[in-house]
Symmetry: C2
Subunit: 220 residues, 2 copies
DNA sequence: AAGTTATGCGGACCGTGGTCCGATTAACTT
DNA sequence: AAGTTAATCGGACCACGGTCCGCATAACTT
């Protein structure tokens, strides 16, 4: 459905020697350096999207409108981001990176420096808070069923959890436990619990702590 | 968004006595008995939808096509089911009921008669198997983010889990634990684990058992 | 049986997501 | 500097989900 990607790639580029060093920089695997207008347009589009999002809310963010606001053809939007969801995901990326920094290299107990179990305990609340802070975006960018589990951000969270779990004395199937933890942080779920069912954030957080404890403690 | 439902309802029906008994049957709360052609069309639509689903797959199930196949106007489809998702949900309903019967009144250990902990242990595998059996439908009928947690089927599963959990010696926040369990059975998640990540069903099942055990066992 | 009402019907209509292909132009070659 | 190539651009185009409103008719009233 998406691009054949089967271009033979028998290099008729500068090849053997011509633009040697920087070619390594831009093309790790034979990729092409993107054209100047392409990156310019990408930036314009993201900017326009963010602006419209702020003004009209995510629901009214139409692809046509983004294209118009960015003064760019509609086709360009789809070329750059694949589909509406891709655009939203790209927007989300920025926020997500801040979260990632926090648990990859931020201060303990979330970041490195604290015992794994404490980092695990801190992870849930951090994610919940982060997602509730950027709720609209996270809800709007929710991918459709099949792709939901494959979104890169999820992958990172997943392996982070798995690594931490493995450092505890847990006897469980670590991979699965990570999935379980991940699932319990699902944005729409958390949102629903807080908004429609009246769970306090504190309750959710202590629920998370409890879950972590139970998963990281060997059964008697 | 859906019907005002504010009709005053000062009963100009047969009222005080005319069609007394069956009126109670059809109108529990003053509701109107649906018109004959309405129920006929509803049936025709569900039938047509099922047929198309079997033939072309869920992805190609367009509302126009269903209307045409049922020899009915397009408006009727939307009137009856609200939106595409409503139609899918209605289709799903039938299968879901079979599952519900199984854990509400079927044979133990899934149904009543076995200790709560065993029923809990049996619940996960039953749901997973059921959803994987009707995978296409369950995936297609996945509601969009906001409504996902509110779908009736989910409510029933939730309270069932909560009730069983309360019957064990669990010390946890039962409501939350039920949500966690529910989340770990999410159809797209299970599907993804099995298909893309190569988890065996057996592994998922024993993962479920483990999770139940940990949630239903008091912490030391 | 005929009249009245309000419920359901149907298909023209609209907005939006997504595709396609000819014109355009950046990057590389000579 | 001019030419070549291949990727980008852009907007006309399409399909599908969802709405609307005048018409038909089932169910109730007399």
């Amino acid at each position: 459905m998406r691009m054949s990607a089967g271009t033979p790639r028998i290099g008729p580029t500068g090849d053997t020697l011509a633009g040697p060093v920087e070619l390594d920089l831009t093309s790790v695997d034979g990729e092409r350096r993107p054209r100047a207008d392409a990156v310019r347009n990408r930036a314009k589009l993201l900017d326009a999207a963010a602006r419209l999002m702020a003004d009209c809310g995510a629901a009214n963010l139409t692809m046509d409108a983004v294209a118009a606001e960015a003064e760019v053809g509609k086709g360009t939007v789809f070329r750059r981001f694949g589909d509406r969801n891709g655009l939203l995901l790209a927007l989300l990326d920025h926020e997500e990176q801040r979260l990632q920094e926090a648990f990859l290299s931020g201060p303990p107990p979330l970041g490195p420096g604290a015992p794994a179990i404490d980092r695990l305990r801190a992870f849930g609340p951090a994610v919940m808070r982060h997602e509730l802070d950027n709720l609209e975006l996270y809800l709007a960018a929710e991918p459709p069923a099949e792709r939901r589990c494959v979104v890169p951000a999820r992958g990172l969270r997943r392996s982070h959890l798995a690594i931490l779990l493995r450092m505890t004395e847990a006897t469980t199937d670590v991979e699965l436990a990570a999935e379980t933890l991940l699932a319990s942080l699902d944005t729409p779920l958390v949102h629903h619990l807080v908004e429609q069912r009246g769970f306090s954030l504190a309750r959710l957080e202590s629920g998370w702590q409890d879950l972590v404890t139970r998963l990281a403690t060997p059964l008697p």
